[in-house]
Amino acid sequence: MAGTGKAHLRDGGARLTVKDLVVEFRTKGDQRVQAVSGVSFDVLPGETLSIVGESGCGKSSVARAVMHLPAPTDGAVQLNALDLGSLDKKALRRSRVAMQIVFQDPVASLNPRRKVKDLVQEGASIWGRGTAKSRDRDAREVLDAVGLDPDVVWNRRPHELSGGQCQRVSIARALVMEPDLLICDEILSSLDVSIQAQMLNLLRETKAQRQLSMLFIAHDLAVVKNISDRILVMYLGKVCEVLDVEALDRPATHHPYTQLLLESVPTVGSSRVVPSKAPAGQDLPSPLNPPSGCRFRTRCPLATPRCAVEEPRLERKSDDQFIACHEVA
C-alpha cells in the first residue's frame, strides 16, 4: 500500500492519532471514489501539523473525517486516547467539542441571521455552559484576543463585516470552547495577503498561549512553512512525505511530488525567471480511476516500471523525514 505505512507515528503522548483513515464517497453515477485511502498521522500537544496538497488530494476530507462529520468509511481516530469510532451519538457530540474546525469561506461559515455575540456564544449556549453573564464575558475576552473590538462588533451581523473579520469571528467561536485541537481548513486562502499575514501571526500566538494542537490544511507551502512544526504531503488520497519543517531548510532530498510543489511556489526576487520550455499540459488522474502502484507515477520524472506495480510505503529517511517513494528512499 503506497503512501500508507505508519513508520512516522510516534509512540504515545499524542493528542490526536489517526490510523489508516479511509474516506469513500459515492458519485452521482453510483461509483465509489476514495478521497482518502489509508492515511495515518498523529499530532502532539502544542504541535501544528499541516496537510499540503493540490485540490482534490483529499486533505479537506481528512479534516472532516477527523471531526466525524461525517464519520470516515474506515480507520481509527483517537482524540486524547479516546477512540471516536466507539462512541455513541451523544458521546461523540460531546467529544467533538474538544476539536473545533474553521473553514475556508468566512462568510458561508457564519449564519447570516445571527449577530456576532450569538455566533461566538453558540457553543456555550448549546451546552448550557456558565451563566449569561459569564458567557458574555468569555465571548468578549476571546473577541479581544482575536483582534476584534467587542464593543464595535458585538451587535453586528456577518454581512456588516469584512472577510478577515468574519474569519476572526469563526476563530473566536472555536476558541471560546477551549478546544484541545483546532482544525483550520484552508482558512487563509480567501484572504488578502496583508490580512493573511495578520492571521498567521494571530494563529501562532494563540497556539502558543493556549497550548493548542493544530491541524492546518493548506495548499501553499510558503504559508505552511510559516506556521507548522510538521508537514504531511498528500497526493490523490495518499501520503507522499511526512517531514519536520526543519527538513525544508536543510538541503535534503524530497519525494518527487514535494519537490514539484517546492519548485512551483512563486518566489519574490529581482532575478528573471527562465521559463521552462512550454511543457505539455497534463491532467491529474481521476480519483475514480487512480493509477496503479504509486499514484504519482503518471507525473513523476523518476518513474520506473516498478512504480506501476508496487506501491511504495512510507519509510524513514531520517529522524524527521519519511518518504514513500521507491526511487528516492
Binding site: 488578502d192 495577503v193 510558503a222 512551483s264 512563486p266 512550454a278 505539455a280 491532467d283 491529474l284
Partner: protein
C-alpha cells in the same frame, strides 16, 4: 523617444452605488512599449481588475458608471473610438485572459466553437480553415490530443486545460497586446507554474506586450519588465522590476512584500504585517488612502493626497514620506 504601444493617462472609473460614488480607478497613468511586460499588483478592491477591464473598454459608461481619461492604443483613443472600431481591435490586436477559465468559457459551447468564432469574426476564414487553425492553436498551447478536444465541452477539461484554451483563444489572431487578469488564481500551484511559463514563452516568441495583473507579488516577480502596485484605485509605486524588488520607496508595497510568507525565509518567522484593512472608497474623506495603515504617517498625509511623481531613477511614486534605501539591508527580510 519611441511612441508607446499603449498610452494611459489619468484614467478614472467611477461606479455609482447605493452607498455613494466609488472611484475604483482613480487617476492611473502609464505607458507600455511594444513587447514589454507590465505587472500590476494589488489586493482585492485595489481596482486592478477594473483597470484591465476599463482599458479593454469592457466597463461601459452608463448611468451608474463613468469613465474618464485617455487610453491610446497605437494612436487610437479606445475610449473615444466608435464601437465598431473598438470591436475590430478587441480580440484581433488586444486580447484578454480572465481569472476563472471555467466561468470564462461558455458552458454550452464546444471548445472548438470558442476558437473558430473568434477567428471567423476577425479573419475571413472558411469553416474548415478555421477548424484547422483552431487545432493548430490548441497544439500551440500544448494541449494533448488537440483534435479530440475540439469537440469537447469546457466542463470536460481540467482547470489547467481550460486556461490553455483561453490562452489559445486570446492568441488566435496574433494580438499585439495581451491583458492577463489573474490568469492563474483559480489554478493549483503546480498548474499555475506551467501556465505562467507557457504564457511567458508565447509572449516572448511573439514579442507581445503584456499586462499581467495579480494579487501576488510572487507571480509578477521575475516575469515582468515593470511592476506597478495599486492601492485604492491608484498606482502608488511603479518601477523597473529589478529596481522594484531591490527596494520599495512606498510603505505599502514594502509592507505587502514583508507580509508575504516566503519559502526561503526560516520556518515560523513572525511576519511584519500591514495593520488594518483597505479603506472604504465610498466614504473616503480625503488625504492619502494609505495613511490609516501607514507606519510613517504624518499630519500632511491625513489632509492631502500625495501626487504621483516621477523620481530620478525612473520610478513613479505617490508618497510624501518615502522610505529611503539603507545600505546592505534590502527590504527588511532575511534572505
Amino acid at each position: 523617444m519611441i511612441k508607446p504601444l499603449l498610452h494611459v493617462r489619468d484614467l478614472r472609473t467611477v461606479f455609482q452605488t447605493a452607498r455613494g460614488a466609488v472611484p475604483a480607478v482613480a487617476g492611473v497613468s502609464f505607458d507600455l512599449q511594444a513587447g514589454e511586460t507590465l505587472g500590476i499588483v494589488g489586493e482585492s478592491g485595489s481596482g486592478k481588475s477594473v483597470l484591465g477591464r476599463t482599458i479593454m473598454g469592457l466597463v461601459a459608461p452608463s448611468r451608474t458608471t463613468a469613465v474618464h481619461g485617455t487610453v491610446e492604443y497605437d494612436g487610437t483613443d479606445l475610449l473615444q473610438a466608435s464601437p465598431k472600431r473598438r470591436r475590430a481591435l478587441l480580440g484581433a490586436e488586444i486580447a484578454m485572459v480572465f481569472q476563472d477559465p471555467l466561468s470564462s468559457l461558455n458552458p454550452v459551447k464546444r471548445i472548438g466553437i470558442h476558437l473558430t468564432e473568434t477567428l471567423r469574426q476577425h479573419r475571413e476564414l472558411s469553416r474548415s480553415e478555421a477548424r484547422k487553425r483552431a487545432v493548430e492553436l490548441l497544439d500551440m498551447v500544448r494541449i494533448p490530443e488537440a483534435a479530440r478536444r475540439f469537440d469537447q465541452y469546457p466542463h470536460e477539461l481540467s482547470g489547467g486545460m481550460r486556461q490553455r484554451v483561453m490562452i489559445a483563444m486570446a492568441l488566435s489572431c496574433d494580438p499585439k497586446l495581451l491583458i492577463a487578469d489573474e490568469p492563474t488564481t483559480a489554478l493549483d500551484v503546480t498548474v499555475q507554474r506551467q501556465v505562467l511559463d507557457l504564457l511567458a514563452v508565447l509572449c516572448q516568441e511573439r514579442k507581445m506586450a503584456t499586462i499581467l495583473i495579480s494579487h501576488d507579488l510572487g507571480i509578477v516577480s521575475g516575469r515582468s519588465d515593470r511592476v506597478a502596485v495599486m492601492y485604492a484605485g491608484r498606482i502608488v509605486e511603479s518601477a523597473a522590476a529589478e529596481d522594484f524588488f531591490r527596494h520599495q520607496h512606498h510603505p505599502y508595497p514594502r509592507g505587502l512584500l514583508a507580509s508575504t510568507p516566503q519559502l526561503d525565509s526560516p520556518a515560523r518567522t513572525v511576519l511584519t504585517t500591514v495593520p488594518g484593512r483597505p479603506p472604504d472608497l465610498a466614504r473616503w474623506r480625503g488625504g492619502c488612502h494609505f495613511s490609516p495603515r501607514c507606519p510613517n504617517v504624518q499630519e500632511r498625509c491625513r489632509q492631502f493626497e500625495p501626487p504621483v511623481e516621477q523620481t530620478t531613477d525612473g520610478r513613479t511614486l505617490a508618497c510624501f514620506h518615502p522610505v529611503a534605501p539603507k545600505g546592505g539591508e534590502v527590504n527588511g527580510r532575511n534572505r
